[in-house]
């Protein structure tokens, strides 16, 4: 009896294909999903490593209740909202503007684009250090330049409010290029004849943008916005090296708070509980990204 070669191969292939997937699968389960489950268990335990080598017993939802009432936790949530909100809005506006200004394939525009994306490839830790030097009150370049135009620069990193602004500035400096890249690709993919028709009909540049381009760009811009929002919320490195949460708790973000709870205070139960509160929010956003990516607009 003859089998159809294609079917035969397909069935014969399956064990091989599974074997191809397995190594990656095992690593991901061991390094991502096992710790994730472990973390859920920790969230319901009382455990501070400095007090005890073993978990100190099951406490149910106590950690969650405690964290939600904790003042530093609340302040971290507020800071996260301010920093991420401020930075992402600035990045979207600047990124889209720059994307329009750097359109084109002349060598000059390509050089400008190459230059403008550089902040994105710098390690966030190093970017934080760099801005720490720039924003130094006495010897920093920023205040020196402000001085040249007669403005007395603030104590960027020493005042609670300006420290928040500094973190927003850093995030914007480093990640506006991301929006520039994504928006640039999206703008380039808008069919040219659509714009020509609009021009022939006498639409102004601004109206063309508002009524033709913006609606076409909206899905991708929303996706980019959620992307940036998540990455900004989750980032630890740049805050670590720029302000280290300070002065006081004034630039503690969710991520920074959880990190210090877990790996400085070694209060594993509290850190796990607050990270699951954070997770609930992140999951909704991730679902949103998923939906944006699959939806046909």
């Amino acid at each position: 009896m003859l089998k159809k070669p294609a079917t035969w191969h397909r069935r014969h292939d399956v064990p091989w294909l599974i074997a191809f997937v397995l190594p990656a699968f095992f690593i991901v389960v061991a390094v991502q999903f096992y710790p994730l489950a472990y973390s859920a268990v920790l969230a319901a335990q009382e455990w501070t490593l400095t007090k005890s080598q073993e978990p100190e017993g099951f406490v149910g939802l106590d950690n969650f209740v405690e964290e939600l009432g904790d003042e530093t936790f609340r302040r971290s949530v507020r800071n996260s909202v301010l920093i991420t909100g401020g930075a992402v809005i600035l990045e979207m506006i600047l990124g889209v503007c720059l994307a329009y200004l750097t359109m084109g394939s002349s060598w000059r525009m390509r050089a400008v684009r190459t230059l403008l994306i550089l902040p994105m490839v710098i390690a966030p830790v190093a970017a934080g250090t760099l801005w720490r030097i720039l924003l130094n009150y006495r010897a920093g370049l920023v205040n020196h330049l402000l001085g040249l135009i007669g403005v007395q620069g603030p104590e960027w990193l020493a005042s609670p409010d300006w420290a928040l602004v500094s973190v927003i500035l850093l995030d914007t400096w480093q990640w506006t290029p991301f929006v520039l890249l994504v928006a640039g690709a999206a703008i380039a993919s808008i069919p040219g004849d659509l714009l020509e028709v609009a021009a022939i009909d006498g639409a102004s540049r601004w109206k063309t943008f508002l009524y033709i381009e913006l609606p076409l760009l909206t899905p991708l811009l929303l996706l980019t916005l959620v992307f940036r929002m998540l990455e900004s919320l989750l980032s630890l490195d740049s805050i670590y090296s720029l302000t280290f949460g300070g002065p006081g708790y004034s630039t503690y973000t969710m991520t920074f708070y959880i990190y210090t709870q877990g790996l400085r205070n070694f209060n594993f139960g509290a850190a796990a509980a607050s990270s699951w509160i954070f997770m609930a929010f992140a999951s909704v956003s991730i679902a949103l990204v998923f939906w944006f990516q699959r939806k046909d607009w």
Binding site: P5, H9, V14, W16, L17, I18, F20, V21, P23, A24, A30, V31, Q32, Y34, P35, L36, Y38, S39, L101, T114, L116, I117, L118, V121, I122, A123, P124, V125, A126, T129, I133, L134, A139, G140, L141, H144, W173, V182, A185, A186, L220, L230, L234, L236, Y240, S241, F244, T255, I258, L263, S275, W276, F278, M279, A282, S283, I286, V289, F290, R294
Partner: protein, 282 residues
């Protein structure tokens, strides 16, 4: 004959040029200032007004870094971690992506797989850092480069698998059909027919992995603070542990930044494709 620009157009192009020049300066000046700081004499750091351009150039901060055995080891550790992470990730990630792409999974299962990739890319990683720390403690791997490598693999493998899955799915099936008729096994088809074609994408994935690994801080700082420490931790530690040593801090940052800028200049297309992956297709 070339049409002469109207007054309005000329004004526009002048403003356009100015805005772009300012944007470029905002990028270049901080980076330049960092490099200048790394070659400035210590006594010129806290003068008022600040010395913007140093009167004298010194390489003592770099010399100090080279003389310091610790720094050299951080650099070596960073390299070791990046090489191992990239190697293992490309090997397992590319294979897994090929496996997934050729399994003829139903649309629903593929959607689930995509969701899992997306989730791993974006969930608060700080959630798993503490349990991961405890697991590494159990296996007695704390403060070794292996702990960092294993931790980073959990991020990079799903990312590369996802990236390559899209590449394999877009590959026309005729390419492999001839090989099937000739009786080639899956492995032969993968290694001799498909792999040579997708090599550019594999390079893109490799560059991206090396980039992520080199810049990674969260995992490294949670499992390896002392002897297995890497550059990202060393750069960050100038803040908390040592007061402020401007020169060494700047020099160390330069050492960390420069390789990635070189990457960005020479492999720009690949790096961008990786960084914007998920937001822009292809």
């Amino acid at each position: 004959m070339r049409r002469r620009k109207s007054f309005k157009q000329r004004i526009y192009s002048v403003i356009h040029g100015i805005v772009l020049a300012v944007a470029c300066l905002v990028v270049i000046v901080p980076l330049g200032y960092l490099i200048i700081n790394s070659i400035k004499l210590p006594r010129e750091f806290l003068t008022i007004p600040p010395t913007i351009l140093p009167t004298e150039v010194t390489f003592e901060h770099y010399q100090d870094l080279i003389d310091d055995k610790k720094t050299v080891r951080y650099f070596q550790n960073s390299l070791t971690v990046a090489v191992w992470t990239t190697g293992v990730t490309i090997l397992t990630g590319t294979l897994a992506a090929y496996g997934l792409a050729r399994m003829r999974l139903s649309a629903k299962i593929l959607a689930l797989v995509t969701f899992i990739f997306l989730f791993i890319r974006f969930y608060p990683r700080v959630t798993t850092v503490i349990p991961f720390f405890l697991v590494m403690r159990q296996f007695d791997l704390l403060d070794t480069v292996w702990a960092i490598i294993i931790g980073q693999l959990g991020i990079t493998i799903p990312f590369v698998t996802w990236l390559m899955l899209v590449v394999f799915q877009d590959l026309p099936s005729e390419i492999e059909e001839a090989a099937v008729v000739d009786g080639a096994s899956v492995w032969q088809r993968f290694s001799r027919v498909v792999l040579p074609i997708v090599m550019p994408s594999v390079s893109a994935a490799a560059i991206l992995t090396a980039f992520l690994s080199w810049n990674e801080f969260l995992i490294a700082s949670s499992v390896a603070r002392r002897k297995a420490s890497v550059l990202s931790i060393a750069v960050a530690s100038f803040v908390s542990d040592k007061g402020i040593q401007w020169g060494p801090m700047a020099a160390m940052s330069v050492v960390m930044i420069v390789p990635m800028i070189v990457f960005a200049l020479f492999a720009q297309k690949y790096l961008i494709r990786g960084i914007t992956f998920g937001a822009v297709k292809g």
